[in-house]
């Protein structure tokens, strides 16, 4: 558990972000699970002015600084489910998102066509970083093997999984399309993933 480990800092900072790590972690969990706008507003009012200060220093320009703040906080809203309190504090997570966006913004400004993006260098928002303890599915099976396993799923589950993972649709879109409740889509997804994991384990 790394949350709350005091940073070695020579001068005592009156308002180190780490101080409220637990509080902010719980808000992030609420945003992830309930899409709580109230919890997000708390996170925002704490971090956005701090990000603004960082961004002004880094970008040297009001408009770019605000773009950096907006993009960072928007990612926090969208990807709160990827935050893992066991891997670090909310301030570190949010800073690393800002650092990645800044990296890509600066390269765009310089008009560089280097084929490298921040997410490759620092995989902050990769879906698979969400679950550190679990070996990700892609570590264990090849695409081809996965194809065979897909075929073994019950049709109802397979349709949902294909729509989400292959066609890239959201769960809500799938629900609308199949005219079934969102809850059903979620449970089919969960059952299918569990089944895939079981099959992969048998496969070994």
């Amino acid at each position: 558990m790394l949350v709350g480990i005091p940073l070695e800092s020579k001068e005592a900072r009156p308002s180190r972000p780490i101080d409220c790590a637990e509080e902010m972690s719980s808000y992030l969990v609420e945003v992830a699970s309930d899409r709580s706008k109230v919890a997000f507003a708390k996170i925002f009012s704490y971090f956005a002015p701090r990000l603004r200060s960082y961004a002004l220093k880094q970008m040297g320009n009001e408009a770019l600084a605000m773009e950096l703040v907006q993009d960072t906080m928007s990612n926090v809203w969208q990807k709160a489910h990827l935050f893992n309190a066991e891997k670090g504090s909310p301030s570190t997570w949010i800073f690393t998102i800002a650092r990645n966006i800044r990296f890509d913004m600066l390269r765009k400004l310089q008009n560089r066509k280097e084929d490298v993006c921040a997410d490759d260098l620092w995989p902050v928002l990769c879906e698979q970083t969400a679950d550190a303890n679990e070996t990700s599915l892609e570590e264990q099976v090849t695409l081809e093997q996965l194809g065979h396993l897909f075929d073994a799923l019950p049709v109802k589950q397979r349709v949902v999984i294909e729509a989400i993972y292959i066609d890239g649709k959201s769960q809500q879109e799938v629900a609308d399309e199949l005219e079934i409740p969102l809850g059903t889509v979620k449970s089919r997804t969960r059952l299918a993933l569990q089944r895939l994991k079981d099959m992969i384990q048998e496969h070994d």
Binding site: L7, E8, R13, S15, R16, P17, R35, F40, A41, F44, A48, P49, R50, L51, R52, S53, Y54, L56, M66, V69, M73, S74, W77, Q78, L82, S89, S91, T92, I94, F95, T96, R99, N100, R102, R112, E114, D115, V116, D120, L121, W122, P123, E127, Q128, A130, L137, E138, E139, T142, L143, L146, I164, Y165, I166, S170, Q171, Q172, T189, R190, L193
Partner: protein, 220 residues
């Protein structure tokens, strides 16, 4: 066992996001293989974050941003994605590629034989220049050379020596014009490395000097 790591300055600047992209790419790939440096970067990121977010700059326009963000719909998607290619194949062997380099496996050109037991697959990195996966078979040798620019190399699998030191899987090697070296592998398994150079190499010895006018064609 990993003996060669990025310097603490490189790791610090990597955590800050201030390392040039080519250097950052090789450092990142090293961290994928080196838990020690991964931990250093993690600790450095905590510190940098605390420092970066220690000051507050309020502005009324932040309210509008907040209002705008919470109106965005959220794409609901649980956490797996389509598998990426994580191995590189050569001569019937498969090598596992560190996470940071996986995206480039698809961009790798065909393997071609250079001199003797040396194979190269170029990776186009756009403005950043050329990177190469280089495979040295047992006894394979890169002619002695020096650099006009910098060279960052990561040993992906195997062992090699270059007259300066012996390297093993995971080692991070950062060289510039001050160094002259002649990499070669004596390992039965050979050795696969990933290498980025920002300027063509300059060969320094024997017949290899004849290669200089063409060195931009390979080991670029």
């Amino acid at each position: 066992m990993i003996n060669f790591h990025p310097t603490s300055t490189q790791l610090q600047r990597f955590a800050e996001g201030n390392l040039p992209p080519s250097e950052a790419l090789v450092v990142s790939a090293h961290c994928d293989m080196c838990t020690q440096c991964m931990a250093v970067v993690k600790a450095a990121s905590e510190k940098v974050a605390a420092e970066a977010l220690s000051k507050v700059s309020n502005d009324p326009s932040l309210d509008a941003i907040l209002a705008n963000i919470v109106q965005q719909p959220v794409a609901e998607r649980p956490s797996i994605s389509v598998p990426s290619i994580d191995t590189i194949e050569l001569d019937g062997r498969e090598f596992k590629v560190p996470r940071a380099l996986r995206r480039y496996v698809r961009k790798t050109g065909n393997w071609s034989s250079l001199v003797g037991k040396l194979w190269q697959a170029p990776v186009d990195l756009g403005d950043m220049g050329m990177a190469n996966f280089i495979y040295m078979e047992k006894g394979g040798r890169v002619p002695e050379h020096t650099h006009k620019g910098s060279e960052y190399t990561l040993v992906i699998n195997g062992e090699f020596s270059d007259g300066i030191a012996d390297y093993d899987s995971g080692d991070f090697i950062s060289l510039d014009g001050e160094h002259t070296h002649a990499p070669m592998s004596d390992a039965d398994e050979g050795c696969l490395v990933f290498s980025i150079v920002d300027k063509p190499l300059h060969f320094t010895s024997g017949l290899a000097r004849l290669l200089n006018p063409f060195s931009h064609l390979f080991f670029k």
